[in-house]
């Protein structure tokens, strides 16, 4: 079990709901992953449209906790208003806060992010900020009232995996008591296992599962990788050595010449 903002979660995998081949595959992938939290967004509804109703019925039936996002927001005002609208629709004060600063890299605007985080925390939100691995920005976000940090490990949807292990390691070391969730950039289950082995508390991913040839199988694989990585971290891994060390006992071996 994993305690996130006072909620006990069975899984350390948080899963996005976008880009699946069909609603049925999305639902099955969520179940196969074992996730306890799915991310959702708000978008313009067509006049007379029922797209939102259908999607909301599908998500509600999954029984997971909902984490709305502010994806696509490029300003503090946009992000704050979207968060408030999400709180009303989804009935949760949790918000995955995104303030995007660059169209190509989808890199967070960390200055806007800190400002939006402060406004929302003061308004009673539990802010989960999508941020970089910059330690100073992380400090500012904590100062703004965030209790959780969600650093990227590579650009959103890139599937590159952890491109700067040193920075992630430093972040874990620098904030031993802050829940840290790697959000964005994971491509393979081994990437998820790697960051979990570093001691990260959870991972959040979407594209790597949704765009896999078999999203349901990949969801299950990520679920297992996250568990394996966490258990490895908790079990104390062997440090690498530069010399060979025999694993079979050398005492008592036969001599044939």
């Amino acid at each position: 079990m994993f305690d996130l903002l006072g909620t006990r979660l069975a899984s350390r995998l948080l899963l996005g709901t976008a880009q699946y081949p069909s609603p049925a595959i999305l639902a099955d992938a969520v179940k196969a992953s074992g996730t306890s939290v799915v991310t959702v967004s708000l978008r313009r509804e067509m006049a007379g449209g029922k797209a939102g109703e259908k999607f909301w019925a599908l998500i509600s039936a999954l029984g997971t906790k909902i984490l709305p996002n502010t994806a696509g927001c490029h300003s503090v005002k946009e992000a704050v208003t979207t968060a408030k609208m999400a709180r009303e629709v989804f009935g949760t004060s949790w918000i995955k806060l995104e303030v995007i600063g660059n169209h190509d890299t989808l890199q967070p605007d960390v200055f806007g992010l800190v400002e939006a985080a402060r406004v929302l925390c003061e308004d009673g939100f539990a802010v989960l900020p999508y941020t970089t691995d910059d330690l100073v920005v992380a400090e500012r976000l904590l100062g703004a009232g965030c209790k959780v940090l969600m650093p990227w490990c590579a650009p959103i949807g890139s599937a590159l995996g952890p491109v700067n292990i040193t920075a992630l390691r430093a972040m874990r070391r620098h904030f031993p008591d802050v829940p840290l969730i790697v959000d964005a950039g994971l491509g393979r289950p081994s990437h998820a296992a790697t960051v979990m082995e570093l001691g990260f508390d959870a991972v959040l991913l979407n594209t790597a599962v949704a765009k896999a040839a078999d999203p349901i199988g990949m969801a299950r694989a990520f679920g297992k990788a996250v568990e394996a990585g966490r258990e490895a971290f908790s079990s104390g891994m062997l440090e690498p050595r530069d010399v060979a060390v025999p694993s079979t006992p050398t005492i008592g071996r036969a001599v044939f010449s």
Binding site: T39, L42, G52, T82, M85
Partner: protein, 65 residues
């Protein structure tokens, strides 16, 4: 009155936000509304008076990462 609703121009007779939603066939508990970039709570739509040129956003749950 001329309004922008989800980025499209509309000429409507509605006076309040609730009337606008009804006129454009928006219905449902899952909708969220904002006028001129500020949230208007569901409970306040019936009394929220619209003005010429207002920009209205009507959002609903969608897939997200």
């Amino acid at each position: 009155m001329k309004l922008m609703v989800n980025g499209e121009a509309h000429e409507v007779a509605a006076i309040t936000l609730a009337e606008l939603l009804a006129a454009l066939d928006y219905e449902g508990d899952w909708l969220a509304t904002a006028v001129n970039s500020d949230l208007v709570h569901k409970a306040n739509r019936a009394e929220f008076q619209l003005s010429d040129g207002d920009r209205i956003e009507i959002l609903s749950p969608m897939q997200g990462g």
